[in-house]
């Protein structure tokens, strides 16, 4: 059916500001979407990293008289060994304890001479362990042991990162929706501007599908072109952003990593699909309205 009507390529004027507007709109929106995507991915990485770092580790602090320390430590390790969801439990060495304190008290703190509590790092596996159950068992077996599962004071960070990711995703949806609306309006504007073209084509016996196709093709290509350029510039801009500051510890760079660089390439295709659907609806809608 498409072929029988003949080539539609030149039926709709090539130039025209609505056409450029379409390309430009698609370009700008995709450019912004690339940023939103980068934000969303970075926030996702961040949330994941924190989530992982925090939910997978817990600390047990054992404060006991020096002579009972060894015994209680062993008791705790025994309890942990039989706790489901605990992958690994390990008493920190003096060196490690020293490092933790260094920012506060300097590297020359004589840890071994101090009656400091002993710290045990617990790495959980799978769904993690039941913190409340563990606490009860510990209080029975090793009264000087206190479980600190970190969640209390770091959880808000994870929540915040999750929200950032959500914000990025919502932004992409918003941007996509706005782009669809703009392209629909631009298509309607182009159809209005080309009312005479439609009238002439109708007069000489062109079918709706033939007329619509000419507009849809032009708009889809326009949107694809603009969106492609937008994606390229967006990726360039993201690549040129100040690099990831991993020293910052909790901030990850606003950029793409590895395979993520392929994701923004999907945006122009999505934009073209949006343009195709939006223009098609607009065209048939408009054609139905004309005699």
């Amino acid at each position: 059916m498409a072929r029988k009507d003949g080539p539609t390529d030149r039926i709709v004027p090539q130039t025209g500001h609505t056409a450029w507007l379409t390309s430009f709109t698609a370009g700008v929106m995709v450019f912004l979407a690339v940023f939103a995507l980068a934000l969303s991915l970075a926030a996702g990485r961040l949330a994941e990293r924190w989530q992982e770092a925090l939910s997978n580790t817990a600390t047990i602090r054992i404060a006991a008289p020096p002579d009972q320390m060894e015994f209680q430590t062993q008791a705790v390790l025994n309890v942990l060994a039989t706790t489901p969801g605990v992958a690994e439990a390990r008493a920190l060495t003096d060196d490690e304890q020293q490092k933790l304190l260094a920012p506060w008290f300097g590297a020359d703190l004589p840890v071994e001479d101090l009656p400091l509590p002993r710290l045990i790092e617990v790495t959980s596996a799978g769904q993690g362990f039941d913190a409340e159950g563990l606490r009860q068992r510990l209080s029975a077996e090793a009264p000087g042991a206190v479980l600190d599962d970190h969640g209390r004071w770091r959880q808000p960070l994870v929540v915040a990162a999750g929200r950032l990711r959500l914000l990025g995703q919502v932004s992409i949806l918003l941007i996509g929706g706005a782009m669809a609306a703009m392209i629909t309006l631009a298509a309607h504007a182009a159809l209005s501007a080309n009312a005479q073209v439609i009238r002439v084509l109708r007069l000489v016996g062109a079918r709706d599908a033939y007329i619509a196709r000419a507009f849809v093709r032009r708009f889809t290509l326009r949107a694809l072109l603009g969106a492609g350029l937008g994606a390229i510039f967006g990726m360039l801009a993201v690549a040129l952003l100040p690099g990831a500051e991993t020293e910052g510890g909790f901030l990850t760079g606003l950029g793409f990593q590895g395979i993520e660089w392929a994701y923004p390439l999907a945006l122009p295709i999505a934009a073209a699909v949006v343009a195709y659907v939006a223009t098609r609806l607009a065209a048939f809608n408009r054609l139905r309205g004309l005699p």
Partner: protein, 253 residues
């Protein structure tokens, strides 16, 4: 062909039969038929009680003062407007039952010259004139294009863009576009309004030629000289719109 008898004849059956005899009712298949058609843009009807059967191979002129509904009548004939009441039949199909695609296909068998000739302004004249063939997927039948353009006096303007054409050149181009598919029916709305006498004679010759090939022709015009000239060459009948009705106008010509 059926036609509203002039009002003076009243309901007298013999008079009506005589009137019909004058118009040589042919028994060929009708191309376009209007039965008891009325049309209203607003609350007041513009045309009422219109009956007309365009037989294949007939030649009609349509006259009437400005604003009486000639263009409206033509639009009813090619389905751009649908009748308020009554029935319009194009190629044996009721217009009201035709889907837009069917109508598009039917249009390919009709040549239409609009009163305000419109073109695809970004494409050269030759492409515009060939458009009906292109749209119908018959772009390969384009041999006669330059002969046709030469006939309507546009031989040197094949590459000109429509907005650069003069008023008369546009009308000629519109006629050329209407006849390029060699349509079964030609509906032309004031095709010589901006043309000098010589050129309108030339276009008339083209129409007469088409009519002799068996095409049905309906031309709306104010130009009485054109009608007179046509009547010397072909069996043309003249319709007139008066008092919202379609009448035969024979007496004054």
């Amino acid at each position: 062909m059926r036609l509203n008898p002039p009002q003076g004849l009243g309901k007298d059956a013999t008079a009506q039969a005589a009137f019909r005899a004058v118009f040589h009712v042919r028994n060929t298949r009708p191309v376009i038929a209007l039965e008891q058609v009325s049309y209203a843009y607003g609350p007041e009807p513009l045309l009422t009680d219109v009956n007309l059967t365009l037989a294949a191979g007939s030649f009609y002129f349509l006259t009437g003062p400005s604003g009486t509904g000639k263009s409206t009548f033509l639009k009813l004939c090619y389905g751009e407007l649908k009748p308020t009441t009554g029935r319009v039949t194009i190629f044996d199909r009721n217009v009201k039952d035709m889907k837009r695609d069917e109508l598009a296909i039917a249009r390919r068998r009709m040549g239409v010259v609009h009163q305000d000739c419109q073109f695809l302004d970004h494409l050269p004249l030759a492409t515009n004139v060939a458009l009906p063939l292109t749209v119908a997927g018959r772009g390969n039948e384009l041999d006669d294009l330059s002969a046709l353009l030469a006939w309507v006096g546009l031989g040197g303007l094949a590459d000109a863009l429509p907005p650069t054409l003069s008023g008369g050149e546009r009308q000629r181009a519109a006629l050329a576009r209407a006849v390029i598919t060699s349509p079964d029916v030609l509906l032309a709305d004031e095709p010589t309004g901006n043309l000098d006498w010589d050129m309108s004679q030339r276009l008339l010759a083209l129409l007469v030629e088409l009519n002799r090939m068996g095409k049905t022709i309906l031309v709306a015009t104010h130009d009485m000289n054109l009608i007179r000239a046509a009547k010397q060459q072909v069996n043309a009948r003249v319709l007139r719109i008066r008092d919202k009705r379609l009448q035969a106008a024979g007496a004054d010509l």
